[in-house]
Symmetry: C2
Subunit: 693 residues, 2 copies
């Protein structure tokens, strides 16, 4: 399956002074089909079913539509998905679903190649609006509301975000005050900042909404709860409900995002989605979860699937972008270099490899990490692994991976676009539109920066639990460089005990950087030390006033976030490394191991200053990281670049970019043949430098 016709490497010297290692005759062979199966993962059936659907042009983004036309098209596409049984996997079997939570997300993720607007609008209807009823409601609500939601008879909005509050859901201003006289809740928007905002389906299609509001009964506020509120009928807004269209956005314009506000709108008491908190007719409040804080986080936790699916969609979009850029880079030629007769293929330039191959490695890492996340998600939502710890681990894992993958996707889409030059900027080649659509993935379903702080707080909490009872001197000694396996292994996310057997080894300078164990030690040691360092600095908070403690935390905020990022990178690396064990084919595993090394060493190179400052790498070893990437890994991986994107398995109908179809190769070959024929026929003009030869 390898296509090495563009390979031009022959021995020359690199920066280390060694001969450049072109792919030799004994170079490993990558089995695209085998690798493709590994990448499809556990929910391959759902993914393939979704991919079969997205080959249909009826689901594809069409360029140049007006806002109204695009919205109407996407609304129609939702019905198309419904008719093809593509969107109800997560709903109860008794109502026509399949109780298949992992498969549902996997299928959903693949929709991004058709049109991210279609994907997100489907997510609003069945993933958010429907899920709120499913997970926050009880059987009465399921029976009453889910059939209409599932069938699209009742398009709905997920009314959580307000103009004044996004990621800080606990502080929303909308109120739901119980009136025992009429046994109704009164939904009310007390000021402009409490308008519900940015809600898909709110501007146009939505007939109902799951509205998050502060539940007040008997003069007591019980915090945020969710209510099922009809908002429109055929004639428009119902009495007391109003709103606005959010208008055009930076992307995702197939979705009718809008604002809603409520002027003392009355709904029956039973429209409270009462799984985690209920109000009796007399107004008395009960909840199975006594702590208001824990209750709040439990309710929000049921909505983690938004983050899980964005993580997966970011992976799919990154694969698509690299498929386009690597194919074009394997055909496009520019400037003569090693061969005076013919221009060089872009991907034979070191810089072009530096631009695309590490991002290819990152995409593989993101994909393997996502598969872990999806497995954890399915475990919790199927009930198979659904302890409180499992739930918390899932939430922390989602909060760690979603920021990295959505940011990486934007970076990858942009680099792919630039690597394709002006051709990458043409709408027909899709990279700019995908980037525009995915832009908001970085700040919705939890702002990435806020999510990383959640992760950091978890890491710090685990660290503090681990050291409870350890006296200050011992702790200081451990922190100073001997953290080892006692560090953060109760993060629940990974068991360091399984991986770092040499206690304290992460505190020492690493002798080699190329092997997997060294990469693991370097990446693990960095997380542990960063967490321990921050924890040590934050200890003083215990003796400070609340506001001074907040200032102390803020003065360390940047490092807190970086520690969370380091943790998430380690998770990606571990997932990649574990996946190597699932690849039986020797050649494929060899190539993937180089790719994993490129990912791991890329992380170490990115944080090289940290490793030097903390004495984990000597300057000589630090230099060797870059040399190894440039002189070994990139040249080794270059011949496999096309296969590595072919393994993503996209059909032409998923790719759809003219520059990724071989058109560029045909143009290059035609031009080359023309020039050669001219020279052979003697018709070519002579160059000015030698006019009289």
């Amino acid at each position: 399956m390898t296509r090495l016709d563009d390979r031009t490497q022959t021995p020359a010297k690199n920066r280390s002074g060694d001969a450049l290692p072109g792919a030799s005759a004994e170079a490993p062979r990558l089995d695209v089909e085998t690798l493709g199966r590994v990448l499809l993962g556990r929910w391959s059936e759902a993914r393939l079913a979704s991919r079969a659907l997205t080959r249909d042009p009826a689901l594809h983004f069409v360029d140049g539509l007006s806002l109204d036309e695009h919205r109407a098209r996407v609304t129609g596409q939702l019905h198309h998905l419904l008719e093809h049984d593509a969107v109800l996997r997560a709903f109860p079997t008794r109502l026509g679903g399949h109780d298949d939570h992992g498969g549902n997300i996997a299928a959903f993720e693949e929709l991004v190649t058709a049109d991210p607007s279609l994907q997100i609008k489907a997510g609003v209807q069945w993933g958010l609006f429907g899920s709120a009823v499913l997970h926050l409601g009880t059987q009465t609500h399921h029976d009453a509301f889910l059939p209409g939601i599932m069938s699209l008879d009742v398009p709905g909005a997920f009314a959580m975000t307000e103009t004044g509050h996004g990621s800080d859901v606990a502080s929303i201003g909308t109120t739901a005050t119980y009136d025992p006289e009429t046994e109704e809740f009164v939904i009310h928007t007390p000021f402009r900042a409490a308008w519900k905002d940015y809600l898909g389906n709110a501007a146009k299609d939505g007939l109902a909404a799951t509205v998050f509001a502060q539940l007040i009964t008997n003069g007591v506020s019980h915090g945020v709860h969710c209510f099922y509120v009809p908002i429109r009928d055929k004639n428009g807004f119902l009495p007391g409900v109003g709103g606005e269209d959010d208008g055009r956005k930076g992307g995702l314009n197939g979705i009718d995002n809008g604002r809603l506000h409520f002027d003392h709108v009355r709904i029956p008491r039973t429209n409270l989605l009462n799984r985690y908190g209920d109000v009796a007719p007399d107004g008395s409040y009960t909840s199975p979860i006594p702590s208001p804080g824990r209750r709040f986080f439990t309710m929000l936790g049921t909505l983690v699937q938004g983050r899980v699916s964005l993580d997966g969609a970011a992976v799919v979009a990154s694969k698509l972008a690299l498929t386009i850029a690597v194919r074009y880079g394997s055909e496009r030629r520019q400037f003569t270099a090693s061969d005076p007769e013919r221009e060089e293929v872009l991907l034979d330039y070191q810089r072009h490899q530096r631009r695309l191959l590490p991002r290819l490695a990152t995409t593989y890492a993101m994909g393997f990490a996502h598969e872990r996340l999806l497995t954890a998600f399915d475990g919790v939502f199927s009930g198979e692994h659904a302890t409180d710890d499992d739930r918390q681990d899932l939430e922390t894992l989602a909060a760690a991976l979603k920021p990295l993958s959505t940011w990486n996707a934007l970076d990858i889409l942009q680099e792919a676009r630039e690597a394709c030059g002006g051709a990458g900027f043409l709408a027909e080649n899709r990279l700019t539109q995908l980037r525009a659509d995915l832009d908001v993935y970085a700040t919705f379903e939890g702002d990435n920066t806020v999510l990383l702080q959640l992760v950091a707080k978890r890491l710090l909490g685990d660290y503090s639990k681990r050291f409870r009872g350890v006296d200050a001197r011992t702790r200081a000694g451990l922190v100073a460089g001997q953290v080892g396996q006692t560090g953060v292994d109760r993060s629940g996310l990974r068991q360091l005990a399984q991986t770092v057997t040499d206690l304290g080894s992460t505190g020492r300078s690493v002798g080699h950087v190329r092997d997997a164990e060294s990469q693991r030690q370097l990446l693990t040691g960095r997380v542990e030390t960063m967490v321990a360092d921050v924890a040590l600095r934050l200890r003083a908070a215990a003796h400070l006033s609340a506001s001074d403690a907040a200032r102390l935390f803020d003065a360390n905020q940047d490092e807190v976030i970086e520690a969370a990022r380091a943790h998430a990178e380690l998770l990606q690396w571990e997932a990649f490394t574990d996946a190597l064990g699932r690849i039986d084919d020797h050649g494929t595993r060899s190539v993937l191991t180089w790719l994993r090394d490129l990912f791991g060493l890329g992380l170490i190179e990115k944080h090289l200053a940290w490793y030097l400052i903390h004495g984990r790498l000597s300057t000589k070893r630090a230099v060797s990281v870059t040399d190894y990437i440039d002189d070994r890994l990139l040249p080794r991986l270059r011949p496999h670049a096309l296969d590595l994107v072919e393994a993503f398995g996209f059909a032409p109908e998923q790719v759809r970019a003219p520059i990724a179809t071989g058109a560029e190769r045909a143009r290059q070959d035609e031009a080359f043949a023309y020039v050669r024929a001219q020279h052979e026929s003697g018709a070519a003009p002579r160059p000015e430098k030698a006019p009289h030869r």
Copy 2:
């Protein structure tokens, strides 16, 4: 002019364990008006005239237009600019222009706040099409063609790029073969890759084009020359001319980019723009520049203004983005932190400062560097400083600054968008559209990666000239750490002799990092050492075959590009530092000095691994760089953030983003007043935790 009502810092401990330095009573006062004048620079009049124009809604981008509507609107806007005498400054006075090259570019740059499409379409007509006639043609052409171009009677395309060749102009495939029988040139497109592509005005409006083609006469190819070719009349394409619409793009959709091809199209001999090469009626070729290579670069050099103006436009767009994000960040509140009564203003969070303030510093650096570039440009094009060295310096400077500023603008626009959360993604707040439009600035008018390689080749060439005649042992000694002022000072771009008087000091570990001299030494030493290192490795190329030499260069390509980037960063830092000397007001200079320090230390922090590996910073000093930024510079600059963007001087009609108008503050105040009034009246619900107080 300071607005410190959001300032909340009071003493607390930072990561160094010191008290956090809130802005004390003796904090310097920034004079916004004085600073604004400094920022307007030498061509303030042209800038202010352009800004006065761009307040007119007639010139503003309107959201939601179809492709045709947007194109038609922008075409109309060009006439508006013309009627207001806004676009002809660079043309000869005798034809109605003003021979004002610097002012022309300055005015052009400011158009980006109206609509980048308008800006670039104006650039196509008067800056590219018109400039080609002006700078590559002679008086006959000026008299014949410029009046129609200037008056917009003849909209035209600048037909340089081909589908097969962008930045590598020398390799284009279009031919212009002289036919002495008829005294005509025959313009021809021999294959698909030689179609002219991506030309503004080509899809719809263009009546003529300046076509770049390989000039062939008497069987000899004299390389790329430019020809004036009519392409359309009222009925459409002229015989032999054909083309296509490039369709929708990632941005700049107000411009009708398209493709052109020529099937043996005949034009008069005199339509060759013959300033640098001419063909006599009998077909004999003459040129004032004997070397074909030098002739080619001289011709292309006249077109440097595209790069100069993109550099300036990137600065203006960055200023606009930060104006929006800093204003919103000064009003938007989210999560309670130091004050339990009221949520924290975003810009009081360390991370938010880390996201916006260093980018503010970078924008100032970009702006001051651009002013230098514009001065160099005006010197060359006015003829006041127009030696060959001046021209080469200008081209190198433009090639160094344009990549950094255009990439930085994309980074700044994106960070601003994310820092504004979902509000940043609303089209009405402009950040996404500006980013979409400016995306292509990174790859047109010279791909950024290609430009940095041009810069590196110049640096390497200067280095090699400097060391010509120096024996290998001396050279090795110098390279090893004693480069000092003998290094690259003949780059013409700056005179190290003026700045580093202590020969060899850049080779030693630096004891302090905070003062300007240390920053200068660190930044300068890095450029010198990187260039010297690469030069040493590339020396072997002299003894290699051409193809092996190319491979050797490629194996060092990444470092070559990084050396050029380091050089460009140093230029920005020097421009910023020089500008401090032009600020008389003491308080303003103090604040700007902190901002310059933030820029300089930010660069050093970014490249910290390099400084550690090369022994220029001890690990202790390396740590102090980050500490100084977090604990000193960010808190000091925070109270001045609003003033620093107010000094950019945009009118509301230039900003136009609803989130930057104070609307958010009004919403926050209304919500706060509501909650406070509720509490004071006793109507507020009690929290669940203390239901029976």
